[in-house]
Amino acid sequence: MTVRVRYFASLREKMGRIDDTLVYENIATVADVWRAVSSGRPIPDQLLCAVNMEYAEPQSLVNDGDEVAFFPPVTGGSG
């Protein structure tokens, strides 16, 4: 299966890249995706994740062709 993984904001800078394309066969959940891109580490508490542009949880399922995103807490708006 193929999964596109995207990173935003400070996480993008920490990862040193804007995205990855995974072709592993052993990916079932968002947590598996994170382990694949971070040398097996667990998802940091603060990190948010999305599957196909909808918020998701570490245990959310990932399917072939999905876009998975990781990013820090959001800080839009003003005031």
């Binding site: 935003f8 999305a50 909808e54 839009g76 708006g77």
Partner: protein
């Protein structure tokens, strides 16, 4: 209902004027408009900020904003809603966000407008990176409402 992510400076008041012009006779139906405008300050956490970059997640950001507005429409009786959020390079004094809600009565307008800006700040994928005197820094958390 219109949700826009805007890549260049915008005047919230010119946008409101133009948006309302397009409503035509609709303007005779609503009694109340509640509006919030968020502006970039030149001071944050005690430091002078010279400029800022607002990053977003194209596609997800628009979808989140639309969901926030749809939830507000389900909860209150809203005649129209306009949300504009700036991204890219921003200078102090620039408008960052506009939320406008048109209703029959003022209670719903105020409540829905405030709800939308709070939800936007907590769930819409935007991230601020400030340039201060000694370099750049990511804003790590939002101010409370």
């Amino acid at each position: 209902m219109t949700v826009t992510v805007c890549h260049i400076p915008f005047s919230p008041y010119a946008e409101l004027e133009a948006y309302q012009q397009l409503m035509g006779d609709e303007v005779r139906r609503f009694g109340a408009t509640a509006i919030f405008v968020g502006t970039m300050r030149d001071l944050n956490l005690g430091d002078e900020v010279t400029h800022m970059v607002l990053e977003h997640y194209p596609g997800m950001t628009e979808r989140q904003l639309e969901q926030i507005v749809a939830e507000a429409q389900a909860r209150w009786d809203l005649l129209d809603v306009l949300v504009i959020h700036r991204v890219g390079e921003i200078t102090p004094g620039d408008s960052i966000v506009l939320v406008a809600v048109w209703t029959l009565h003022r209670g719903a307008a105020f409540e829905a407008c405030r709800h939308i800006i709070e939800e936007l700040k907590h769930t819409a994928p935007f991230w601020k990176k400030e340039t201060v005197r000694d370099g750049e820094r990511w804003v790590e958390s939002n101010t409370k409402g």
